[in-house]
């Protein structure tokens, strides 16, 4: 069996075991969250040994050549010597503001120590000193000074509970990323855009809508936001105001349960989209949020006629 060397000590891996699982089993604290090669928080550096390509999917070329890899995706064939990721891969940032957007959604603002380059709609991984890491979509635009995240409060969630307290403001964290392929690509500016998401799936969609408007998109832009109850439809007033001021932007808030109220549509978000637009040939689609919903929406949009290459999505994977 191959072994991995960490901080001068060698550890045997079990058959088929990933580097991350092997280190955790030996009591070594390595930041991690999704264990699915998506969040990037378990990234390590190999200073000696071979890394298979599948453990480097999605990493920047400059990182790959320096031996960076995702330890949750790496089952090495031969022994490795490992090091922590260097300062170039993580940017220190300070939490400058925390407020409630709804009962269970927090808005977090962060000021990075140096420029954090990203495209609106991508996500980052926030890492605390303890090594606890979670991925969140960016709702802000690249030209804004502060970064904005929407964080769903999860009962007993270690990161969200920590974020939801006044003394967190002023704390320092590390940022890694960005990641994700769900963003607005300039060009074909007359193409109609459909954006759909539930819960904090709104965060990247909010960024993408504003990015498309700033970049001069002229085609219709229709955003559908779903929640269980009306109270979960956060940023609703701002989106209604945006729809009132920009004639080619439309906003449809939807709730799964509840009485008809104002302009809110009641029902499953995918059926509401299907009723509004039975045919979507030539459109571009963006879907974000819960993985089951993302899967069902992608299928719906594809069957309604959107080309697969025109569907951009981001499924929020649970932390494990």
């Amino acid at each position: 069996m191959p072994s991995v060397t960490w901080a001068g000590r060698s550890h045997q891996l079990a058959a088929g075991e990933t580097v991350l699982d092997g280190l955790l089993r030996n009591g070594i604290e390595i930041a991690h969250a999704c264990k699915a090669g998506s969040c990037g928080s378990c990234m390590l550096r190999a200073v000696a040994g071979e890394i298979a390509a599948r453990a480097q999917v999605g990493l920047k070329d400059s990182w790959k050549t320096r031996g960076y890899f995702l330890s949750c995706m790496c089952v090495p064939e031969a022994s490795l010597e490992l090091a922590e990721v260097g300062a170039e891969a993580r940017i220190p940032a300070q939490i400058t503001a925390v407020d409630h957007l709804s009962d269970d959604v927090l808005r977090i603002r962060l000021l990075p120590e140096r420029a954090f380059e990203f495209r609106a709609g991508q996500y980052l991984t926030l890492i605390r000193d303890s090594g606890l890491a979670r991925s969140y979509s960016l709702a802000s635009l690249p030209n804004e000074r502060e970064l904005e995240l929407h964080v769903r409060l999860i009962p007993h969630g270690r990161m969200s509970t920590w974020l939801n307290q006044p003394e967190t403001i002023g704390s320092n964290v590390q940022l890694q990323g960005p990641s994700g392929e769900c963003f607005y690509v300039p060009g074909r500016e007359e193409q109609p855009l459909l954006l759909a998401g539930a819960g904090t799936g709104l965060a990247p969609l909010w960024g993408i809508v504003h990015d498309a408007l700033q970049q001069g998109h002229t085609g219709p832009i229709h955003l559908f936001h779903g929640a269980l109850r009306p109270g979960g439809l956060y940023l609703r007033e701002q989106l209604e105001a945006l729809a009132a001021s920009r004639s080619h932007f439309s906003y449809t808030p939807t709730v799964l349960n509840g009485p008809e109220e104002g302009r809110i549509s009641v029902g499953a978000i995918d059926s509401i989209i299907g009723t509004t637009y039975p045919k979507l040939v030539g459109w571009r689609g963006f879907v974000c949020g819960d993985p089951t919903l993302v899967r069902s929406l992608k299928r719906k949009l594809f069957l309604a006629g959107i080309a697969m290459g025109d569907i951009y999505s981001d499924a929020f994977l649970p932390s494990v």
């Binding site: 299928r299 594809f302 069957l303 697969m308």
Partner: protein
Amino acid sequence: MHIMSTSNATLFEQLGGQAAVEAAVDNFYRKVLVDERVAHFFDDVDMDRQRGKQKAFLTMAFGGPHNYSGKDMRTGHARLVAMGLNDSHFDAIVELLGGTLKEMGVADELIGQVAAIAESTRADVLGK
């Protein structure tokens, strides 16, 4: 207008090469997803990854470059065979493929050649 003789062109060239695969794949995949006979085999798959597989399949069936072996076909479909994949499902896929090409205006004679290539994989796909 100069009319080029196509007698020396390969099937893949006559169909329009990789551009034809690109034009066909979304329509073919949509047909598969809504066809009651075969849709359930595609319920739990990642759509982006599946589209890549459909492209590879179409490229092969169009007579294009591929590196499938009979063994790949067997291992790749073993899970589906265990789910009950049989000749009737294979026939349905060949029919949907023909329908896709027909809609693209491909001549019947070429559709027949595509169907024959698809047919040549039947035993491996069904694990016979």
